[in-house]
């Protein structure tokens, strides 16, 4: 057993395991939590009967479990992260969990650790929109002004650099954009915010930094094997739609969307008002919108994937086809439930409103 995938039962984790198996890996170790749903991984075992999937069930914040998971491993794909919940929980399960993994790695000495990070580590708020943001761009200097996920991913990256400097193993970092695909959600936070079934469409004319699930997984596995130690790569697809094009395609293929298109200058003005009221009310309302967050998400930044392509990565599913597959899935999901797929809709027999990420909590990666 030479490869470990953490977060293997997640949205992206399952796809990475699949890509590794498709590339002919004979055996993989999957680190999953006791509460994880491993049905997709067990299906993959059925699809690749010659390969061996080993499950290590444990807690990422447990040093003992991490040592057990890393025993004999040469390459680690670290995907596990907490994307929603209380800030302390997100930090604990993203940053502290990474520290446990890195501490164990210092003992077991894998050759390479591949970290799946996020585009949200860039300090986009102050960056101009003219030039695509590449891997050399400045990182977020005020993570506390963004959301806790961005803060955690940034700290996680810094932690990896600290351990890399201490030696022992190579680190490769990938920064995917918004991952979409089968099993994913309807809209990226970069499209806007969904409130009570309405979509506040903030980033209408912006090109969405999307990456299709299989393309992203392929990039991770590709970089895991080809990239030089210490390298960092943005992961986004080519031929990406604007936010408006995506929403219109969603409308045509999946479901109607009640949306309000909000120009950027109005978004900023409203954000400013929300922030003022937030200060006035001493945080009596959540800071869903602030000028800093809005500029980070909806100003219209574009990201470059040239470095990844120059290494030889090829987008295995063209964007048009990827969108169609996603919409087919979302459409079937809607048909199965009999209800629209907008997150805030109630289902008959459900116990209230389903839990979803807080509106405005921008995340670049789903796992």
């Amino acid at each position: 057993m030479s490869i470990l995938v953490t977060g293997a039962s997640g949205f992206l984790g399952g796809a990475v395991v699949e890509r590794l198996l498709a590339r002919g890996e004979p055996s993989l170790r999957c680190f999953v939590r006791p509460s994880s749903n491993t049905s997709r991984l067990r299906e993959l075992q059925g699809e690749y009967p010659k390969a061996r999937l080993e499950f290590v069930v444990g807690n990422l914040t447990s040093a003992k479990d991490m040592r057990r998971a890393l025993d004999g491993i040469k390459t680690v794909y670290h995907l596990a992260a907490k994307m929603r919940g209380a800030p302390a929980t997100v930090f604990l399960n993203t940053v502290v969990a990474s520290k446990r993994l890195l501490d164990a790695s210092m003992e077991t000495k894998p050759e390479r650790v591949v970290l799946v990070s996020s585009l949200s580590v860039y300090g986009t708020s102050g960056l101009p929109c003219g030039r695509p943001i590449d891997e050399s761009a400045e990182l977020e200097r005020h993570p506390e002004k963004r959301d806790v996920y961005s803060h955690a991913k940034l700290r996680q990256e810094l932690l990896f650099h600290e351990y890399e400097a201490r030696g022992g193993f190579e680190v490769v970092i990938l920064r995917p954009g918004s991952i979409y695909g089968i099993g994913g959600k309807n809209f990226s936070a970069r499209v806007g915010i969904e409130v009570q079934g309405w979509l506040l469409h903030f980033g209408r004319n912006n090109v969405l930094p999307l990456t299709y699930l299989d393309n992203c997984a392929e990039a991770i596995v590709f970089a895991g094997t080809k990239a030089a130690g210490g390298d960092i790569y943005n992961v986004i697809d080519d031929d990406l739609p604007t936010s408006a094009e995506y929403v219109n395609a969603y409308r045509s293929n999946v479901d109607r969307v009640l949306s309000i298109s909000v120009p950027f200058f109005i978004t900023m003005a409203v954000s400013s008002l929300v922030e003022r009221y937030q200060v006035h009310s001493q945080h009596g309302v959540s800071a869903l919108l602030t000028p800093y967050k809005s500029a980070s998400l909806w100003k219209g930044h574009q990201f470059s994937n040239e470095k990844l392509k120059s290494m030889g990565w090829l987008q295995i599913v063209p964007t048009r086809e990827a969108m169609q597959k996603t919409f087919d899935y979302l459409s079937h999901r809607k048909a199965d439930t009999g209800y629209p797929t907008l997150p805030l809709c109630r289902r008959p027999g459900s116990q209230g409103v389903r839990e979803h990420p807080s509106p405005g909590v921008a995340v670049e990666r789903e796992s």
Partner: protein, 359 residues
Amino acid sequence: MRLDVALVGCGKAADQHVSEIKKLKNAQVVSVCDLEPLMAEQLAIRYGVREYYSDFDRMLQQVKPDVVHITAPPQSHLSLAKKALDAGCHILVEKPLALNHEEGAYLIDHVARCNRKMTIGYTYYFDPIARAMRMMIQEGVLGEIVHVESFLGYDLSGRFGEPILADRMHWVRQLPGGLLQNILDHLLNKITEFIIEERPAVCAHAWQRGRDDANLGLPDELRVMVSGQTTSAYATFSSHARPLSHYLTIFGTKNTMHLDFITGTMTFSVSSTLPGSIGRLSGTFGQAWQYFREGGRNVIRFARSQYHYLEGLNFLLTSFYDSIIHDTLVPIPYTEMLRVSAMMDELFEQLRSAHLVIT
């Protein structure tokens, strides 16, 4: 005077404390501490706290805070509290006070020995509607209290419940009373102030309703009957009833009051003086009017930035710090804390006797 406050334990509860302290004029957060330095760091960065530590002794020595908030898991409450008290600090301990009544009593004795002050993180104890309720009871609006019903709904898949479910080794599951011990203060401290007996008769029944959830392995429904000489109480903890409710109903000899801690409304049961069906109809409108009035009051409070979810905690902190500054009585009597922990001990003992696995 402005008190210097330090926190130990930078988990979820710490966020609430720091955010409320930052609103106060009589205190400031000067330092935070967690065994895991990354957790201390994240809290310090997010709230702009100057210093953070991973060594509690060092923090006490270097920062010399006036007050220490203990927001670490309850297993460490006693040892951390003793250290802070011995260092001359006043303390606020998150609920539950300690692992059992004996520990709690020892801690309170130690507070007295050190001539310091202590309070506990009863967030809803001073909620605006709870304060209004006490005033009305003092004015005799309810008459004598006959019976009290306390209800607390809990979402096991929510931001507090989900991490507990996901991890069998979670500290909450290691408590003697498991999940229940970490929550029941909020349910029981609404009852104890109405029961005069030190050790009233308690009868508890708990079970696991979510039997299809293999990860649970702990009771998620609890009913408690408390019988005092003049007042009885009934407490319900439910993880399955929806929508999530959190209320207190007080049945008096003159009036019955209903406090809804989610909406922040206080209403009375109505009785009409009009005859027959007309009376029943007017009662409905009477209740509607009460909700309309409460809604309007809350709109005004919202506009004045007084409609915070943690308004009760804010009041508790202000009162506690004032009691330190002016050397007056602490806002929550120590006897109240001990009565809650004694009731919990009794309750868990009954559940254990019934061979109900708690953790």
